[in-house]
Each structure stands twice: as C-alpha cells, then as structure tokens.
C-alpha cells in the first residue's frame, strides 16, 4: 500500500536525467524531494504522472504497476499532480476548474468531501468561485490548484514547486494548506521543492536527488539538520 518508484530512468531527448531512482510514499505521509536545480526533481514527478516516458524501471500504486498507462489514466487511478506554475485553466472559472478535478475522482468520490474543509479554511477560493481563473493572483491560483487536485480525491498527490513565484507570505499559506490536505485526505504527498528548508521542515521523510540519482534519504528532520545537506542544498556553509 504505497506509491512505488522502482529504479526509474527517464529524461528529455537523448540525455537521461533520472537514472535508477527508487522511492516510496505511504498513504498519509508527506515526503519531500530536494536537490539542486537540474537534479531531476521535476523530471521525477513528470515521469510519475506520465508526462515524460519511463525508459526503464517501474511505477506502481496500490493496484499494481501503472507504468504503461497514459497520463490521464494515472490521474483517474488517483495519482494526481499539481504542476509547477499552477496551470489552472485560465478561462474556466474557479468552480469549473474544481469541477474538472471532481471528474477525475470517479469511483473514489463519496464520503466526506475534503474540498469543503479546504474551502472553509481558505474562504477566498469560495469567494472567487465564479471568476475566471486567470484573474486570480498567484497565491490564489495556487490555492485553487491545490483544491482542484484534492477534488480529484488523490490517493497520491504530487506537488511540483508549490511555492514558486509566491511571496513569502503566500508561501506560508500554501504550506498551511498542504498540511491541511494531508490531514483531511489521508493521501500520500510527494513534495518537490526548491525551498529545501521549508520542505524538509514540513515533511516526514525526504529524499535528496543529485544528478538524477537519489543520494540520501531518511527522516526529514534529520536530513534538515545534517551538515552535508545544509551545505549542499540549503546554501549554508
């Protein structure tokens, strides 16, 4: 019962970016992936959701391997990504964006709707319900993007650089929202962040990616305090 990446290899064009990457995310767990730019973090999540082809290795969730499925089928299985830069549908309303998320939920829908909890916690999304998504500020868009992903009832949620381009204040909000999502959905969350410090602070476990390989893994708090990590990825000497 977990999201498993086993010995994955993938990349763009000719050059492989990921090689032999293995990791796991348990339900209800927040796992961070940190690493320098170009280390392959975004490549990793794009490979998991099928936006990049897996060249070797395997991907599996609770129902077994999904490595051969196309991107939209993975979403329907509950492997849901919030892409870098939010990627809301700019000319759909906030409500329609979230409705699209609900569509992907399919059979997993039912029971208590975690979306309601998010909307209660961040009423701004509800206030903007009928507005076109491109009229929202960056922070609001990220809220909607996260809500939309939650509406899809993810079993595993992949977040690609959720703080990118946000002001410090909004970044705090986003991390609060992520915490809330973890509480309410029980989904396993894989968080890819350039802000390694925050990511490690929020996560249970973490992996460190370097040149497309996992070079360290373990308890997030321990990694955060490890000198090696601090020096290499937190810019602390």
């Amino acid at each position: 019962m977990s999201l498993v990446v086993d010995n994955a290899e993938s990349g763009y064009d000719r050059a492989p970016i990921l090689s032999g990457v293995s990791l796991r995310v348990e339900p209800g767990e927040l796992v961070a992936v940190v690493g320098s730019n170009g280390a392959g973090k975004t490549t990793l999540v794009k490979t998991i959701v099928g936006q990049l082809a897996l060249r070797a290795g395997d991907l599996a969730d609770d129902d077994g391997s999904f490595a051969k499925l196309s991107s939209h089928r993975r979403a329907k299985r509950g492997v849901v990504m919030v892409p870098e830069g939010r990627k809301l549908f700019p000319r759909l309303t906030v409500g329609e964006n979230i409705a699209l998320g609900r569509r992907a939920a399919g059979k997993r829908a039912g029971g208590e709707d975690p979306v309601d909890a998010l909307l209660d916690a961040f009423p701004i999304v509800r206030e903007r319900w009928g507005q076109q998504a491109n009229l929202l500020s960056g922070g609001e868009q990220q809220m909607v993007a996260l809500t939309r992903a939650v509406a899809a009832r993810p079993r595993y949620l992949l977040l690609d650089e959720p703080s990118l381009g946000l002001s410090p204040l909004k970044t705090l909000d986003v991390f609060r929202l992520i915490e809330l999502i973890r509480e309410r959905t029980g989904a396993g969350i894989l968080l890819v962040e350039q802000m390694a410090d925050q990511a490690l602070a929020a996560a249970d476990r973490a992996y460190v990616l370097e040149h497309g390989r996992i070079v360290m893994e373990g308890d997030a708090a321990k990694l955060r305090s490890s000198d090696e990590v601090r020096r290499a990825y937190l810019g602390v000497s």
């Binding site: 500020s137 381009g165 002001s167 602070a201 937190l234």
Partner: protein
C-alpha cells in the same frame, strides 16, 4: 554601428587582450568556408546546364526542367526566410511568383519597357505588394497568417484569370492582343538570351538563370548566418524577445517579407524567361503549396533545404518513377484503389514528416551535429553554471578595467502610472537608479513589479509619468529603442532560442542583431568578417563569465534551468547595456545558485552596470541591493536600504508576514517561536517555514 562600438572606452578595453589571435583564426576559417561554398554553388549551377551547350533538341526538356528547378529554388529560398527562420508559414509565395512572371512580361510587352528594366520593375512591384501584405498581416501568426497570405495568392490568381490586360485564360502574350504567343528573348549588352524551345538554338538564357540562382543561394546563406538572420530567428521565437534584443520587429518583418516576395517574384521572372509564355493555370493554389512543400521537404530553416527540396519536388513530379509506381500498384494491388502522381507526392511528403521531420537537409544535419556534440551535451549535465562561478568570476573580473560611475542618476522614473482597463497596476511611482547601483523591487504578487519592469523596458506604454535614461527621455519608447538606448533585460522564465546553441544565443544578444543592414548581411564585406570574429571572441568571454565556457555548442534547451538563467544574463550583457532589468532572476534557483547569482550581480555592479532586480528572495535582496523599493497595489510602500525596508512594519504586514533580520532571515514567527538562525554572513533560503509543532 552597435552600441558596443558607440562606447569605445568600455567596449574597446574589454575586447583588448587575449582575443586578438582568436579573431584572426575566426576570420580566416570563416572566409575559407564561404569561398568554398560559393565556388561549389557556381560550379554545380554551370555543370547542370552543360548538356544544353550545343542546343541539341534532346536537351531542351532537360533545360526546361533545370529552369523549373531554378525558379522553384529561388522562390523556395525566399519562402524559407519566412517559414524556416521567422516561423511565418506563408501560403502566398505562389502569388509573388505570379506577379514576378506576369509583371516582367507585361511591363516589357504592353508598356514597352526595356526587358531588364521590366524585370526590375516587376521585382519592385513584388516588393511593394509584399510590404503591403506584411503590414496588413503584421499582428497575425499561425493559421491566420497562412490564411491571409493564401487569400492574397488567390486574389492574384483571380486577377490573372479575369484581368483583360493579362490576356486572361488565353494566356500572355496571346494572338488577339499581341499577335504572338511568345515573349521576345531579352537582348542585353549584345547578347540574346534564348529560351530552351527550339532544337538547334542554344538556350543561352540558362546561363543567367542558373548563375542568379547560385547567387541567390549564396547570398541567402550569408543572410541566414548573419545577425540579420539571427534577428529573424529571434522574431520566430518571440517577437517580444526580439524587440528586447534591439530588433525593430515591425521593420524587420516587413523587410523579410519584402525580401521573400522579391525572391518569389524572381522565380516567376525565371519561369517567364524559360517558357516564354504564361498561362494563369500555372499559378494556381497548387503552385503556392508546392513551394511550401519544397521548403519543408528539403528542410526549413536550413541553407540548402529549399534548394534540395525544390529540385526534388520538381524532379519527382515529372519523373517516370511515380508513373511507374502508380502502374505497379494497378498491376499488383487494385485497378481502382491506387495512387497516381499527386497522391504519391502526398504520401512521400507524409513519410518525410515522419522519418525526416526536419526535412532532408535538416535531418541529415541533425544526425551529423548529434555525433559532434554528444560529448558536449554530456558536459552540460555536469557541473558548472551559476553555482560555481563565484570564485572564477571575481578573478575574471579583476582584469576588467573598472569604470568610475558617472555621477548622477542613470534611470529616473517620475510619477509612473499604468492602467489596464479599470485596474491601476502602477500608480504615481518614482524611482531612480544610479550607475553602479543595484535597486531591488519587492512586493506581494500583483503589486505591479513586473508591470514596472515592463514599463521600464518599453513593453507597456505608461499611462502617465516619464522615463529618463542617461539624460534621454525614453517615455513610451518601444522595447527595441529602449534596448538600443542601453537597457537590457532578463525574463521570469528564461527566454532563449531553444534550438540554437549556447554560443548562438549569446551572439543574438549583440546589438548587431538589430542593427546590421540587410545589404551588409547579404554581401558580407570584410568588416562583417572582422565583426563576426570579434563577437565570437566576446561571446566566449561572456560565456566564461557566467560559467558556460565548456558548453558553447550545446543546444540551449539541453541546459539545466539554472544554466539557462546564466545564459540569459550573458546574452543581456552582449548587448553592451548600461542598465539591466532582471525579472525574478533567482526564481527556480537553488540556494547555492542564488548565491552565485548574487556574486555575479555584485560584480556587474562593480563594473559600473546599474541593475534593477525584481525579486522575492529576501536573502538575495538583502545581500546585494543598495536600495530596495517595496511596492503594494501599484504604489510605493517603502523605500530604503534593505534593513530599513525589511523591518518596515507596513512591509511586514503586507508582504513578509514576519520580520526578517539583516540577512533576510525570519527572526520571529507569528506565533512567537524563533527559527534557527543561520550563521552570520550565510545565505539561506528565506523565509524559513514556521509552524507551531515544528521541533526545530
């Protein structure tokens, strides 16, 4: 004349030194390649018409074929400038071909012009129609552009079909109007240029046809590989980017369209000279499509692509191979389900798209390039880039003569305002930046920071206020004027030429891209060779400056993100700016890279550059900025040194959420706990996350 040259002190000094020897080598090798190409092109041109030198009847259809190929080649070379480089898929080239063909015949026969003048007149007409079409379609891209050019071609065809002056479907010339159905061969300088028509007559017109074709290929190669050509690729990539590189996009687009139109017309002129009679049926919609096919089939965006494509298509359409293939299908597959010539051309074309997506020449070239650069690509994934430049950079800069910043403010914004519909994005903002100063602009999302950057660089025209730069009023100037005045910029997401090499990206940054005149690009005078070599040496220096010296031949898209940022800064420097506007340069960078970026920016400041940095990374801001402006809702919220601004209560309330220390680190969280402070002088990503239960 480039900005670099306009400012001899700085530019001249920078270029002095170790580059001189390299320059000589570059000039010599470039000259050797160009001469070889020209000789080869002319030789091939002459060889193909040798069979017709005695005027043997058996060579006539061959000469006609060669003439068709030449005409198609010239038209395709012209179209390639649009389709291949500027990325404008014009379906109107057939229309210009027709104007050239009919225009030259009409001016000579009906208007009595000297045939040579008539040809020039027809080409001028093509240019004028091209300019008008270009101006009309200036805002169009994609299918809309294709359709408007197609409409133009259809209208031309319609005029030829219906215009009495052109003989309509009786052809031109015709008995009723001219008493003959053939145009007179041109006699010029005592030579008569006979078309390939009658056995026994030497088809002398073939000589100018193939020689001119060869010249067109040679000149178009020069153009494609010049800064002028680079500006076309820049427009193809993004018109906004091109204008930031100092390219007057409007003029350049009109110019390239005119050039393409004239070449299309020249193709038509050749057809007239070779076939001596014009029928409007020749100039139907299939002609225009065939020219496009020729470009893509051969390889759009390559020098030889349109040549190979044109020759191949003309040859295929008349060769027996397709007829035999069609017969074979009928014999072996089905007597009714078979394809004949046009269908087979379609199939061939689809196969090309599948198997050789860049056309014959492009795909062959890519295979060769892949072999050559495999090593480099591997290196691109390795170390290097911003995070490792800091040390070298300082060394590198020590031998750059530091210039005393001239006193006074370089950039001054007065009462800047910008309104979008009902939204006041920027209001009443003043800002001034001195030489040798870094001015950071911070603020919440939607505060108007990017709008401000766009106002400074000319993307937006201000609704109110004034921009003064180095004593000149730049208010409302277009991006290319702003760029030429000495303001460069980088973008939130790096805007690079993804298919071009790292070096070519930097080369595009030189002011030459916007300023090289077309004639100099085409004719390549000695000064051009020298300048090319200079630019190359300078680009190598700039690449070294940002830590990309090991990967000059790697495609930009293959670079990791951080290095793309570095490359973009190198390109901005190439233009020889005095002020650089950086829009969130640290976005997406890791802490170590951000730190390297800080070093780079500070060293630029030390060289006398003024920098405006729009940024969210408070550690970076607090480390490098001399002055910080915090904006909120389009207005000035606070201004001062980093310490002053970051501790300003309004800034904290509107933006930061909590106070930061002098290094941009969170001091206190909203619930009162304190995060682990980083060591003094260190940089750590900011601000730290705080949440109530955090054990650290």
């Amino acid at each position: 004349m480039s900005t670099v040259e306009k400012d001899p002190t700085r530019a001249g000094r920078r270029r002095a030194g170790p580059g001189a020897a390299d320059r000589g080598t570059h000039v010599r090798s470039a000259l050797r390649r160009d001469v070889l190409f020209a000789v080869a092109a002319l030789a091939i041109a002459i060889i193909v018409i040798l069979p017709g030198r005695n005027g043997e009847g058996t060579s006539i259809s061959t000469m006609q074929l060669v003439a068709s190929m030449a005409a198609m080649t010239v038209a395709a070379v012209g179209l390639n400038l649009l389709v291949g480089y500027t990325k404008l898929v014009s379906l109107g080239q057939g229309g210009f071909y027709a104007i050239g063909a009919y225009g030259s015949a009409y001016l000579a026969l009906d208007k009595g012009w000297h045939p040579v003048l008539a040809i020039l007149g027809a080409l001028a007409l093509c240019g004028i129609v091209g300019a008008v079409t270009a101006m009309a379609s200036m805002r169009l891209r994609g299918p809309q552009f294709s359709v408007i050019t197609l409409v133009m071609a259809v209208l031309v065809e319609r005029i030829l079909n219906e215009g009495n002056a052109f003989g309509r479907l009786a052809g031109y010339p015709n008995f009723a109007q001219h008493g003959t159905t053939v145009t007179e061969p041109i006699t010029f300088l005592g030579t008569t240029f006979t078309p390939p028509m009658i056995a026994g007559e030497v088809a002398t017109v073939m000589v100018p046809i193939v020689v001119i074709t060869a010249l067109v290929v040679i000149l178009s190669r020069n153009i494609a590989r010049s800064p002028w050509g680079a500006s076309l690729s820049a427009i193809g990539e993004s018109e906004m980017l091109a204008s930031h590189l100092g390219v007057h996009v409007f003029r350049r687009k009109v110019a390239v369209f005119v050039l393409a139109s004239v070449l299309g017309g020249l193709g038509g002129v050749m057809a007239t000279q070779a076939f001596s009679h014009l029928q409007p049926e020749t100039f139907d919609i299939f002609l225009t499509i065939t020219i496009v096919l020729a470009v893509v089939f051969g390889g759009s965006g390559t020098v030889l692509g349109p040549v190979v494509g044109a020759v191949a298509i003309v040859w295929l359409e008349q060769s027996d191979i397709l007829v035999e293939a069609s017969q074979w299908q009928q014999d072996t597959i089905s007597e009714s389900w078979f394809l004949s010539t046009s269908g087979l051309v379609g199939v061939l074309f689809l196969l090309t798209l599948f198997l050789m997506p860049r056309g014959i020449v492009g795909t062959a070239g890519a295979v060769v390039a892949a072999r050559l650069h495999r090593r480099d690509a591997a290196e691109a994934d390795g170390a290097g880039g911003l995070d490792e430049t800091s040390e070298e950079l300082v060394e590198d800069l020590t031998h750059v003569v530091h210039e005393k910043p001239a006193p006074g403010s370089l950039l001054t914004l007065t009462d800047m305002g910008k309104r979008f519909g009902g939204l006041q994005a920027v209001a009443g903002l003043d800002l001034s930046v001195d030489r040798g100063q870094i001015h950071a602009v911070i603020g919440p999302n939607g505060a108007g920071k990017s709008t401000l950057a766009n106002l400074v660089t000319g993307v937006y025209k201000p609704s109110s206020g004034q921009v003064t730069f180095a004593g000149n009023d730049l208010t409302g100037q277009a991006p290319h004027s702003v760029s030429r005045a000495g303001i460069a910029r980088t973008f939130q997401t790096p805007q690079l030429f993804h298919d071009a090499t790292v070096r070519d990206n930097v080369l595009a940054g030189f002011a030459d891209t916007g300023r090289t005149p077309l004639w100099a690009a085409a004719l390549k005078p000695p000064s051009r060779y020298r300048r090319d070599a200079e630019m190359r040496v300078e680009s190598d220096r700039l690449l070294a400056l940002v830590g990309l010296e090991d990967v000059p031949d790697v495609r930009a898209s293959e670079l990791p993100y951080g290095k793309q940022r570095a490359l973009e800064i190198a390109r901005a420097l190439a233009g020889g700016p005095e002020l650089i506007v950086l829009d969130e340069p640290a976005a997406g960078l890791l802490a170590t890279e951000t730190s390297g970026l800080g070093d780079l920016l500070m060293s630029l400041r030390d060289q006398g550059y003024a920098l405006v940095v729009v940024e969210h990374h408070m550690d970076l801001v607090s480390r490098i900025a001399d002055q910080v402006t915090c904006m909120d809702q389009g207005r000035l919220l606070a201004r001062g040194t980093p310490q002053e601004v970051l501790s300003d209560e309004r800034v904290i309330a509107a933006y930061l959420g909590k106070p930061l220390d002098e290094h941009g680190h969170a001091v206190e969280t909203d619930d009162g706990t304190t995060t682990t402070p980083a060591g003094p002088g260190s940089t750590s990503p900011s601000p730290s996350l705080s949440n109530g239960g955090d054990p650290s």
